[in-house]
Symmetry: C2
Subunit: 241 residues, 2 copies
Amino acid sequence: MAQAAPLYRLPCGACLDCDVRSMAVCAALEDDEVDALERIMISRSLEANQVLAEEGDPKTYVYTLTSGMLRLCSSLPDGRRQISGFLMPGDYLGLADDDVHTRTSEAVADAKLCAFPVRDMDGLVKVYPRLSERLHGMTRAALRHAQDNQMILGRLTPVERLASFLLVLSRRAREHKQPDNPVLLPMPRADIADYLGLTVETVSRSFTKLRNDGLIRLPDAHTAEIVDRDALSDLAGIEPH
Amino acid sequence: MAQAAPLYRLPCGACLDCDVRSMAVCAALEDDEVDALERIMISRSLEANQVLAEEGDPKTYVYTLTSGMLRLCSSLPDGRRQISGFLMPGDYLGLADDDVHTRTSEAVADAKLCAFPVRDMDGLVKVYPRLSERLHGMTRAALRHAQDNQMILGRLTPVERLASFLLVLSRRAREHKQPDNPVLLPMPRADIADYLGLTVETVSRSFTKLRNDGLIRLPDAHTAEIVDRDALSDLAGIEPH
DNA sequence: ACTAGTCATTGATTGCAATCAATGCGGCAC
DNA sequence: GTGCCGCATTGATTGCAATCAATGACTAGT
């Protein structure tokens, strides 16, 4: 994996008309306050498959993803891998971690992020309680999400897992003000497999099953058009939060 | 399931020599501050299998468990159940929830808890920032725990899941200042199964496997003595946080 | 003491997803 | 254009955990 790209600064005032401002931590601050965030912010970009932080690395930065997609994953000594989540623009990296990163973070596709030195961020959090509240709220949401995944991994069949995955992606796209249909799948099948606790082959067969049953269409491998959302929801069994 | 037991108040000053004070939220407050917590606190007790809160109930109270054990679970329409976690004395109930409980909470064994009205708690949190920080820290820990479970559920074999389960219980007992060996298993096999995404039969067979391989002893169904902790750790593959 | 009921274990069988293997489908270098 | 490589799909087979079924240990009720 390539090393991190060199850091550079964005011109001042950029946060004010940022695409993800309303979804990200920054939403906790008023127009005249984001300036404080922007002052400690450093822009970064990643190429596809570039590693941002390794499991066990000290947490010196926290990040807001502004474009592209990241995966959070960890691996067993024998190579088995589990992806604990995908980050979409507006999402925050570092919610679960105290002083070290507990998961490896890699770019699924070319990505841009805002990096905040944790020391500076800790300082800001004390000045702006709303920032702290927002981070806490985002952590709670991430916890609910992770608990939902426990049900998905522990009790759902492969097709059910895929159905719930597609619905969650669709819903999150909507929350992130993107079209919720068709669902974009920037990640390869292997990532979906490692997220859903399956093999690539089973993921592929599950896609085919959903397509043959008329619940989705697959114009190409990275696009899933939801045809019958209700049937898909029935399959998934649980309402995504 | 029986209804909640009647509420009653503990005499003043009880928090000061509480068994779980050092593990619970309360640890964030000094001796002269816990008083504020105690003033809004209501003691409750639950019998085994009694329901504390149902999935979807409004979150009017948050709780600290002081004795016994709770399970947090959710169920699919067809009855499949997933337990997202077990609460031990000192643990906090309500970390993941905003205004409604997202999981059902039930007593595994007779339990005692401190109940705090959320409105009052929200007020205290504003007065004592350390309380808020502690809650946020506990939420982050819960998130790491839930993400570890994703790996367990998605990628580990049944014996590996059980090994990691026993190690986590052992470690948490130690953290809660209880002996870390033998491991006490107050919950029935069905709960372990629904936590690990297995069937009771497979859980039972996995116990037998670990016993026959000499990694544990089973004096009785609710006690597992760890004989070879290293081998167990190797099996589990991941270090519990 | 006897019965009924719950829970854990063990055995026999089945079924589904993992594994193994082959093919297809672009994209890219040259 | 050709060949190569990564990725997705499909097919054949295997193996493991779920399912089905029976038994045993223990508790509570009468």
